[in-house]
């Protein structure tokens, strides 16, 4: 009987070791293709997403949210984020045009250790901004919490974009201006 109990105990301890979980979803980079665009122009937001942990993120256990500064620039509300990181998620658009512009993705596959990729989203300048306006990017576990060893310090990034006066009648991309200035 004693040996039996010890065996069960050892087995449980073994399971504990085997199933120790260290998944860590992270957003590790974010940038707009241009830091400034004119009203009516578009910029491409790129977000680096990764599971930095050594165990898998289970399906439907994390949510990645991209919340643009909707007063000044928005996505087109229809075209979901793209890219090798974006395909790991099912995306839905939340909010009403003119009031918010939020894309929320729930992972539709298990995400293995050290797996991830870029998430791309095109935004269009809608209104001139007084300064650089922030897009919040956040990732967090929403389910299966016991599988994570989530570090909150890499769960959030804030990319910025400034919308300038439109360039009617002729618009010159900001990057071209910079190039010419050299």
């Amino acid at each position: 009987m004693k040996r039996f109990i010890l065996t069960i105990f050892a087995f449980i301890m073994g399971l504990t070791v085997v199933f120790a979980q260290f998944a860590d979803p992270a957003v590790t980079g974010a940038s707009f293709s241009s830091t400034q665009i004119a009203k009516g122009q578009t910029a491409l937001l790129t977000v680096s997403f990764a599971n930095t942990g050594s165990t898998t993120i289970p399906i439907n256990s994390i949510e990645l949210t991209i919340s643009t500064a909707y007063s000044y620039y928005t996505s087109n509300n229809n075209t979901a984020p793209t890219g090798s990181g974006a395909v790991l998620f099912n995306w839905i658009h939340i909010g009403t045009i003119g009031l918010s512009d939020v894309w929320r993705g729930s992972n539709n596959v298990a995400i293995g250790a050290f797996v991830g990729g870029d998430i791309l989203l095109t935004v269009t300048g809608n209104a001139v901004s007084p300064s650089f306006e922030t897009t919040n990017i956040n990732v967090q576990p929403v389910n299966s919490f016991n599988v994570f060893f989530d570090s909150p310090v890499n769960n959030n990034l804030q990319a910025q974009l400034k919308i300038n006066q439109d360039c009617n009648p002729i618009c010159v991309p900001f990057s071209v201006i910079k190039l010419k200035s050299r």
């Binding site: 992270a26 050290f114 060893f149």
Partner: protein
């Protein structure tokens, strides 16, 4: 007329005198002697063939005058077919002493003792007459001995009553023992730790149908069996007699068995194990302290064997030299340790069994299952306490790796290249165990990371010594994985220089380093991630 009257009176007086004389003579010579036998029995009243019984009866002169010498005869006539006296030993006792005895009859034909009183037996005098008889033949029932007394002379002296002249005691002869059981020894002592004696080991092999009893007395066990021993395998000190009831055979009186009980002393060994010293650390030797204690009443004798199991999954370490006289052989996770050094009662002996936890056991407790001790001359009865309790150790300790960065600033200008050092610090005061330590650095859009395995020093602000040659890089879908098996010393660190190029203006990054859990025996995965916020000027 006067003459006539005188003559008549004279005659009358004469007759009266004659009558008075006659009466006086008659009164002076009245005799009332009465010989009698007044009680008779055999004790016992049943005997086996070959056994003896004692006939006792009372003889008395119940009369108030003496019985003249040689005037009565007392006859004892046995049922000679079944039992007889020995024919030579005359009846004895105070009653028998009044008589001269002669034995009448020949062996096998009769057995009669006849006594003639050899002295005057005064009024109310008498006494018991005793005679031993021996059973010769099994009788069908109780067989009678006739006892008779009667006057044979001086008959005038007697006023003999016939009703007390005769008695007929009876004796039954049963089958005697064909073969008295012979015990195989006359003394028997307890065998420690037993405090009683087993008599049955002294019984002979029974013949068919024979069953044995043991009794506390050698007398007749038929008497209610009050003396029978209830548990002959566990008797207290005393004297005991074997009896074969089925054939009515006693053991001989000389076959008494004396049971003796001596105070028992014996070793009684126990074993205990303690928490290993030091407490388990991955890849380091811990030792299980083992204590064997003699709580008995005498020193151990011969070899003591202790079996100790080290935790499953651990390896044996090097046993200490000497080990206090204990020698251990190992097989799998079992150590069989022996010592022939005697342990005094009330003392103990200690030794240790070393083991080494593996990296995969870090963060988990270990179970040391109960140890078992045996030998040392310990009697079986004392072996109920020969197993220790089990031990569950604290979690196996290991290194604790924590990353941080050495960097110059958190902002870049586009196209700038900076060197950032990722420090893999050991803060648990335990070195890594040589298993692979891996650090994952996920890519960040807008930045490029580059690892060079050659440099041993880089410039961040000042010169920094780094360990890049200890690390190898592998690409992963979302970043780079740097790995090393070079142990990181306790409270030391291994440093990885990484070149970061700023590519995209306005890019924001969480430069992250995640040390893979359990790598190098890391016990604390909660502090394995570090992120450094970096940005590129817009």
């Amino acid at each position: 007329m006067l003459y006539s009257q005188f003559k008549t009176n004279k005659m009358k007086s004469f007759f009266l005198i004659i009558l008075a004389l006659f009466i006086g003579l008659n009164l002076a010579s009245a005799q009332s002697a009465d010989p009698a036998v007044t009680g008779a029995n055999f004790v016992p009243n049943q005997i086996n063939t070959g056994q003896t019984s004692l006939l006792t009866f009372s003889f008395a002169n119940t009369g108030s005058t003496a019985i003249p010498v040689s005037s009565i005869e007392l006859t004892i006539s046995m049922a000679y077919i079944y039992y007889t006296s020995d024919g030579t030993t005359a009846p004895r006792g105070p009653g028998a002493a009044f008589f001269n005895w002669t034995h009448v009859g020949s062996t096998g034909s009769s057995d009669i003792w006849k006594g003639k009183n050899k002295m005057v037996i005064n009024a109310f005098d008498g006494g018991d007459v005793l005679l031993n008889v021996t059973g010769n033949t099994v009788s069908n029932g109780f067989e009678t001995t006739n006892i008779n007394v009667q006057p044979i002379d001086s008959l005038s002296k007697f006023n003999d009553s016939q009703v007390n002249n005769n008695l007929q005691p009876q004796l039954r002869i049963n089958q005697g023992c064909p073969l008295a059981p012979m015990v195989t020894g006359n003394t028997k002592a307890n065998v420690c730790p037993a405090t009683t004696v087993d008599l049955t080991t002294l019984q002979p092999v029974p013949v068919t149908g024979q069953t044995f009893e043991w009794h506390t007395v050698s007398s007749n066990p038929n008497d209610g069996r009050l003396t029978v021993v209830g548990s002959p395998t566990q008797v207290p000190p005393g004297t005991y007699y074997l009896y074969a009831r089925s054939i009515s055979c006693y053991s001989l009186a000389s076959q008494a068995v004396t049971a003796s009980v001596s105070i028992c002393t014996s070793p009684d060994i126990t074993i205990s194990i303690g928490q290993p010293t030091p407490l388990p650390i991955a890849a380091q030797k811990s030792s299980i302290p083992v204590t064997v204690t003699n709580i008995g009443t005498s020193p151990t004798t011969g070899q003591i064997t202790a079996v100790i199991n080290i935790p499953v999954g651990t390896l044996f370490g090097t046993f200490p030299a000497g080990n206090n006289g204990w020698t251990c052989l190992t097989s799998g996770t079992i150590a069989t340790c022996t010592s022939s050094t005697s342990v005094a009662n009330g003392s103990n002996t200690t030794f240790s069994v070393p083991f080494i936890p593996t990296a995969t056991q870090v963060g988990n407790p270990l179970t040391i299952i109960p140890a078992v001790v045996s030998g040392g001359g310990e009697p079986t009865a004392n072996t109920g306490n020969n197993v220790s309790t089990s031990i569950i150790t604290p979690n196996v300790a290991g290194a604790d790796l924590v990353p941080n960065f050495t960097f110059s600033s958190t902002t870049f200008v586009v196209n700038a290249i900076k060197t950032v050092v990722i420090n893999v610090n050991e803060i648990g005061n335990i070195p890594t165990n040589g298993t692979t330590v891996s650090v994952f650095i996920p890519y960040s859009t807008g930045f490029t990371y580059a690892f060079d395995s050659l440099p041993t020093s880089v410039t961040v602000v000042g010169t920094e010594i780094v360990n890049n040659p200890d690390w190898t890089m592998a690409s992963r879908p979302a970043g780079i994985l740097l790995s090393s098996t070079i142990p990181i010393p306790a409270n030391g660190r291994s440093r990885i220089a990484l070149k970061i190029t700023a590519n995209t203006a306005g890019a924001e990054a969480n430069i992250t380093a995640n040390i893979t859990a359990n790598g190098g025996g890391d016990t604390n995965p909660s502090n394995n991630i570090i992120s450094l916020a970096q940005s590129i000027q817009k």
